[in-house]
Symmetry: C2
Subunit: 389 residues, 2 copies
């Protein structure tokens, strides 16, 4: 079947994923101007959308250098699309060495990361055996969040020494991700963590250099800290991904407003249960993902905030639960305006279109093989994305 | 690149999804013999895996008739693969009418469902205008779970009358899904709900027939009630999906044992945080899904139960949290054997392979475009699956 692109969102199949072009561009411009003003560059993380078209928009927004990926499949895909400067930001292990070597052999300027002596030695052996130079960054733990070595500890220098001594490893620098910023619910704590992320990374680089070893790059980033940071002296690049789309988690942290969320899932109303005051849609967890990222927030948004067909949020409605291909739309708990507002089983009719703003843009976008770029009611383009490993 | 199928699971890329062939076949045989012994047939729900190859195995297991799908993309895909008798088990709405009409025009014997007078009238108008006969089942609510009309209420007969009178609608019967069985934590409550599912459905069919209208089919099903039911008199088919793979949710309900789970995600150990006694893997929530289906269970399994490379479960380890491409493996809370067992940062080395049993087979399988069918260490085949709408 040849699929024609419909001109109106009302003609799209449901569920489907919409991206508001103007909001996307505003979000891109916001970080670009902030990081640009600080004299630094963004290495956008494409894992959020895995879309070449969106990445082009980000690069067009200025102040970027290269991209960040979370899988080697993304690396391969974006390299095939013309991106050569790629940071693969997940600790590299032996069963991926061959794939990286292949990418390098094709001309891809890929950088890999690791955070253990063991991984460094394994990579040293492999690169020596294969006579292939790997560019390697050492991952730092700046907030006790997930991965990385202590910027102030001995392991950092031990790994740096192995890589620096290895004939076929190039010590490319240090990198970190202050993922702890997802627990920072106000600007002050985000700024404090952003400064810590910067300071610890700069300090780690200094320690390496003081030992006579190279550390040309200092890469930091997370969407909350990228917006919070006020001085990037000593930092060569900032990585962030979700800021281009934003989501309810970011809104819950105060990093954006609800109106800045560029991504939504369009669904159809398929039924009602009047005794429970709910409406059912064809956008279940397959369409939204199972992500409940706002569950620990002050305002738990369920599976998402419900909007009308034009994208205006209903203050009283959320997607309260989900089955695979069924979404349950109900009235928000403790909604002060309950009395004045219609419950969804009265408000909607069968076949009505709604939109749902997601908790987490990355997990929701990953449920789709393509997105629709829209301008209000008008469909501008469909943007393919990739998945898998 | 031409990708050769590796002979050993140790050569597979990570993360990847493994399906144990012997376990799969045992699971298929278990429900087949149970439903067969009750003189009924299974209409397998393919939404769990979306794989034609697995569906072939199910059909080869016997006692099946047609398939159930959760999206029209699945309907199209399985129809193209030779399956004509298809039940689309999500309430049909106008923006999907044309797609169903197209499938019918191609010779697909698709059945659709609805549960409102409004939807029935919309479909009546469409079929009349298009002179195309749609086979329609009325969805029943037998457990106050999600969708469907009251089997004892007036709406059932109102919808039946519209469909029965419509020149181009064929009233194909009634159907229900006792999804409430996912809240039944022992055999007694599962049996009670299974009998209620059967009794209410048979009663609804009887009410329609007593009004002189046809109701040839009575379709029920959910994995827990399908195994619990002891008499299927009056039922023409049982729908179930997850039983072929099973998962931790089903094990938590006592419907299967951990050893019956045919599906696991293979990941690599990529790093450690010794002070937190955790190991990191490359199987994050993208590999497992965000499904936390055991969160409300007596035993919360986190993001999954951790097994060694051969699939033997560690009693003390779970995947305790997840980022997009990082899984965090830690020691289970309140593990009585903590003292005698090694924490994962000691137990594992960089590059070690592990497997993680998922909470929910449907959501985990949906993260992959292909699965690896395995027999112990040996890779038998790769099975493509589909996604999207």
């Amino acid at each position: 079947m040849i699929v024609m692109l419909p001109s109106s969102i009302s003609q799209l199949p449901t569920p489907c994923l919409l991206i508001e072009q103007a909001t996307l561009q505003r979000n891109i411009e916001r970080l670009s101007s902030h990081i640009g003003a600080l004299g630094c560059t963004i290495r956008p993380h494409v894992k959020t959308h895995k879309s070449v078209d969106i990445t082009k928009e980000i690069v067009n927004g200025g102040h970027t250098k290269g991209i960040t990926v979370s899988t080697l499949k993304e690396a391969q895909h974006f390299f095939s699309a013309g991106y050569t400067d790629i940071l693969y930001a997940v600790g590299l292990v032996p069963n991926k060495f061959e794939q990286v070597k292949y990418l390098i052999s094709q001309g891809c300027d890929i950088k890999v990361i690791l955070d253990s002596v063991e991984a460094a030695r394994l990579l040293q052996d492999f690169t020596q055996l294969n006579q292939t130079v790997f560019k390697v960054m050492i991952e730092l733990d700046v907030d006790h969040h997930r991965a990385g070595v202590d910027p102030h500890g001995d392991t950092l220098l031990e790994i740096a020494t192995i890589l620096s001594d290895a004939q076929f490893c190039e010590l490319h620098g240090v990198m970190t991700h202050a993922g702890g910023s997802y627990e920072c619910f106000d600007h002050e704590s985000q700024l404090a963590l952003a400064r810590q992320e910067r300071d610890f990374s700069v300090a780690a680089a200094k320690r390496i250099r003081e030992k006579g070893m190279p550390c040309p790059n200092v890469s930091i980033g997370s969407t909350p800290t990228a917006f919070a940071i006020d001085d990037l002296t000593g930092i060569t690049e900032v990585r962030a991904g979700v800021y281009v789309l934003f989501d309810l988690v970011m809104a819950g942290l105060g990093v954006c407003d609800i109106d800045d969320i560029a991504v939504s899932v369009q669904g159809s109303i398929i039924g009602f249960q009047h005794d429970k005051h709910i409406a059912l849609t064809d956008a279940g967890w397959m369409a939204m993902s199972r992500d409940r990222g706002t569950a620990g927030h002050k305002i738990d948004q369920g599976y998402g905030v419900v909007c009308d067909a034009k994208g205006a949020a209903y203050s009283h409605l959320i997607m309260q639960s989900a089955n695979q291909e069924h979404g349950i739309i109900g009235v928000r708990d403790n909604n002060p305006e309950n009395e004045q507002q219609l419950s969804p089983d009265i408000l909607f009719s069968i076949g009505d279109l709604i939109r749902v703003l997601p908790n987490h843009a990355c997990s929701t976008a990953a449920q789709y093989g393509e997105f629709y770029l829209v301008d209000g009611d008008r469909v501008i383009a469909n943007l393919p994305s990739i998945s898998g490993w």
